[in-house]
Symmetry: C2
C-alpha cells in the first residue's frame, strides 16, 4: 500500500453495524483500499455516549460525542452515518452533507421517509448518499437495480426484505409453534428487537421497498403511499391450510410500475411451494427483478447481520472514494417527485379466505352466493370435518378478482347468519 | 435530454448481440443516457461483410467493413466489440485499445484465453475493458462480484454458466430423452449451435468461470489450468438413478480459493434436488458467491439471449462513459499473473459410481473390497434387479474421498473379472 493516497473516514454511531465497519476499516483497510485505489484511514468516531461499553477496540483519542469533530475536520471527506431512527439521524445527515462530506448510510427509515429532502440537498451540494447497506445487508441489491436500469425498463420487484418476519414464519411452520412463541424465539436469538413492530408490522420491509421502487421506477421514495400489512395476524392454522393447498405464507414486498406511478406494498401472501421465494427460509432475504429486456433476475442472501451489513457499508465507502458512486436516482436533474401510488381497489389477484361456519344446511350455498354476488369465482374449496363445537372450518381460494370485489365478498359472507366471525383474507402472491 | 453532452459510440460486429445493442442505442438511447448523464450516439458500425442481410435497420452511411473508420475517428471514445472467437477478435481489441478507445465486450473466450495480455495493455494505455455481458447475459454477475470484493474475501463460486447444457440436461430429465435427441431439440430451438462442442464440452462455462475466478481471487484468467469435463457422456440412466438417490445432474462450474492459487473446474455433478442450483432449469444461469463476511449470495436469471446480453452491453457502455467503470481486477498495479491451479488429486469429495456386473456370487464383496483397498467408504448402495442379459446394474455413492483415491478404486473395480466395463463416475457437488 506504499505511496497510496490516504482517505480519512469518519463514523457516526457505533452500534452493531458501526462497530462492524470500524473493525473492518481497522483490520482490513488494505483490501478495501486495493479496491478503492486508496488507503482508508479511520480518523474519527462520534457517538452519543462515549462511556457506553463497546465490542470493538478503537485507537486512543478517536472517540468523541461531538459531531463537529467530524463536520469541522476538512480532511475527513467520507462519513459512514450509522445512526438509526429519524431524529437526530436526519439532522446529522444534513450537518454532514452541509459540511461537504459524502455520506454512506444503512438507515432505510430515514431515506424512505425523508428521501426527497435529503437526496435533493445532496444533489445541490454535489455530494453522494450511498445506501447499499440499507437494504438486504450483504446482497448488493442497489448495485443490481442500478445496473439493470441502464438499458432495461424494470417492470416489477417481488421480494422478501425482512429477515425477522421471515424467520418467524419459518419457525411457525417448522416448529408448529404459534406466532407468540415464534416471536419469543426470534427475540431470544437476537433476530427480533424488544419492540418488534417495525419488523413484524411490515414497516421495515416497506421502508426498503420504497427505496428500491424509487430507484427502479424513477422518483422519490414515497413511504406515506405504501400499503403495509404485517404478519401479526397470521395463525398456525393459516400456515397449515395454505400448505395443504400447495402454498407457504411469506411476508411479500412487491412493487410494480403502474400508469403514472407505482404500486408499493408489503403484505403476507400465499406463495407456491415450488417458487424460490417460498424456499427462501429463515432470516434470508430474496428479490426478483423483472424487466423488459432482462427477463427475471433472482437474488438471495443473508438479509442482515453485522457482518454482511458492515461489508456493504465498506463497499459503499470504497465506491464513493473511487468515484464510482453516481446519482442513482433517475431524473435527478429535475428534482425528484414522490412516486404516486396505484389504486388498490383496481388491483386484481387471487385470495385465500378462511371462515368458520355453524354446521347447518345451506350454509355452503350461502357462502357461494355471497361470493357470486360480489362477482368473485371460487378456485378451490376445502371443507374440514365438523368440530366438537359444532363449527366447521372452511378454506377457499378465489379466482383473480379486484381487491374491491374481494372486500365486498367478505362483507357479504360476514353478514350471513351461519358465519361466526369475519372471514380471514390473505392474498395469493402474483408470481 | 436537451443540452446533454453527446458521446459517440462505435460497434464492431453485428451478429445477434451487436444488432441488439444497435437497436437499443437507436431506440432507447435516452434511457441509457439518463443513467450515464450523456446522450449516446451510434456513430459507426464495422462488420466483415456489409452486404450480409441484417435484422436491424441502421441510419444511412454508418455501416462499413473498414475498422479504421472507428480507430481513426477521434470523436468515437467508446466501442462495443461484439466479434466472437479468438482471431481476428484479439487483433481488433488491440487496435481499439491502441487507438484510445474504451472497449465493451461480450467475448469471454477472448478474455479467458488472452486476458493477461489484453488487460495489461488496457492498463498501460489507461483504457477500460468492460465485460459484464460476457458472463451470464442479463445477470450482473461481474458487478456483484466486484461489489462483494471491497470488504469480503470471496472463498468460492459455484455456478451454472452454460444455458445450452442446462437446457439439454433439463430436457433429458423432463422428456426422458437420450442425450442425442435432447441436443437435436436444443439445436432446433436455437439454444445450441451446429457445432455444440463449446457448450456441451464445458468450454464456454470454463471461459466464463476463469474470468469470474480471476476477478474473485485476484489474478489473471488462466484457462489453460482449468479442469473441463462436458455433458456428452451423461446417459438417461444416470439421470434416473441420480434422481432415485435424491440428486439432479447439472453441469457445475466451481472455483475455490486454494493455498497459493485457485481450483477452477467445470464438470457434471450430482446436485441435491432441494438445492437452488438443482432447481435452476432450462436455459437459466445461476451462481452462488460465498465470502467470509458476506455469507452466501445466490443469483439466478436468463443466461443468454440477445435481449439480456445487449442490455448488459448497454449498461457497460453507460458505466464506462459515466466513469463508473474501474479496473476490476485486483492487484492490477503490479500486473496480473495467471492464477495457479490447485491439485485435483488432493481434492476431497463424494462420488457417484455406476457399474455393470455379471450376476455371480461374491461380486458385491469384490466391489466392496476394491473400494476398501483404495480407502474409499460407501455412503449408499443401490443394486437393481438382474436384467435378461444376466447383467446387474449397481449404483453407489462414496463418502468424501480424494479424487486420487476414487480413481484408484475405479481401477481396482474395473480389474474385477465380473465387472463388464469401466465404472462411470460422476462427482457429487460439494454444496
Amino acid at each position: 500500500m506504499q505511496g497510496m493516497e490516504k482517505t480519512k473516514v469518519g463514523i457516526v454511531g457505533l452500534g452493531t453495524v458501526g462497530s462492524g465497519v470500524a473493525r473492518l476499516l481497522l483490520d482490513f483497510g488494505d483490501r478495501t483500499a486495493r479496491h478503492a485505489g486508496r488507503t482508508l484511514w479511520l480518523e474519527q468516531v462520534v457517538v452519543r455516549d462515549v462511556d457506553k461499553p463497546r465490542d470493538c477496540e478503537l485507537p486512543k483519542g478517536i472517540l468523541s460525542d461531538d459531531l463537529s469533530k467530524i463536520t469541522g475536520n476538512r480532511e475527513i471527506t467520507t462519513v459512514a452515518h450509522l445512526v438509526g431512527g429519524l431524529e437526530p439521524a436526519r439532522s446529522i445527515m444534513i450537518a454532514l452533507l452541509e459540511s461537504g462530506k459524502d455520506v454512506i448510510t444503512a438507515n432505510k427509515a430515514l431515506l424512505a421517509e425523508h428521501g426527497p429532502e435529503l437526496f435533493d440537498l445532496a444533489r445541490e451540494l454535489g455530494r453522494s448518499i450511498a445506501f447499499e447497506a440499507s437494504v438486504a445487508g450483504g446482497i448488493p441489491i442497489i448495485a443490481n437495480i442500478s445496473q439493470c436500469l441502464s438499458a432495461n425498463q424494470i417492470e416489477s420487484l417481488t421480494a422478501i426484505l425482512n429477515g425477522t418476519s421471515n424467520f418467524i414464519l419459518t419457525q411457525m411452520e417448522e416448529q408448529e409453534s404459534d406466532y407468540a412463541s415464534a416471536l419469543d424465539e426470534a427475540q431470544r436469538l437476537g433476530y427480533a428487537e424488544a419492540d418488534p413492530t417495525m419488523d413484524v408490522g411490515g414497516f421495515d420491509a416497506a421502508h426498503k421497498l420504497c427505496l428500491l421502487a424509487a430507484l427502479a421506477f424513477g422518483g422519490a421514495p414515497n413511504f406515506a403511499a405504501a400499503e403495509v400489512e404485517g404478519i401479526e395476524q397470521i395463525e398456525l392454522v393459516d400456515i397449515r391450510l395454505a400448505h395443504e393447498l400447495g402454498y407457504r405464507i411469506k411476508l411479500i414486498a412487491s412493487a410494480s410500475r403502474e400508469a403514472g406511478g407505482a404500486s408499493v406494498r408489503v403484505n403476507p401472501a400465499l406463495t407456491p411451494l415450488d417458487h424460490p421465494l417460498a424456499q427462501a427460509g429463515g432470516s434470508l432475504n430474496a428479490l426478483f427483478i423483472e424487466g423488459r429486456r432482462i427477463g427475471r433476475i433472482y437474488l438471495q442472501g443473508p438479509g442482515a447481520g453485522a457482518g454482511p451489513t458492515a461489508a456493504a457499508v465498506a463497499a459503499d465507502i470504497a465506491d464513493v472514494i473511487a468515484g464510482a458512486s453516481r446519482p442513482v436516482f433517475q431524473g435527478a436533474a429535475e428534482g425528484l417527485s414522490p412516486l404516486p401510488p396505484g389504486d388498490p381497489q383496481q388491483r386484481v389477484g387471487k385470495a385465500f379466505l378462511r371462515l368458520v361456519v355453524r354446521d347447518r344446511p345451506g350454509v355452503i350455498a350461502g357462502v357461494s352466493e355471497a361470493l357470486a354476488k360480489a362477482g368473485v369465482s371460487i378456485d378451490s374449496f376445502l371443507q374440514r370435518p365438523v368440530e366438537d363445537t359444532g363449527l366447521v372450518p372452511i378454506v377457499l381460494t378465489t379466482q383473480p378478482a379486484s381487491e374491491g370485489a374481494v372486500r365486498d365478498a367478505i362483507d357479504h359472507i360476514e353478514a350471513l347468519e351461519a358465519v361466526v366471525e369475519r372471514p380471514r383474507m390473505i392474498r395469493i402472491a402474483r408470481i
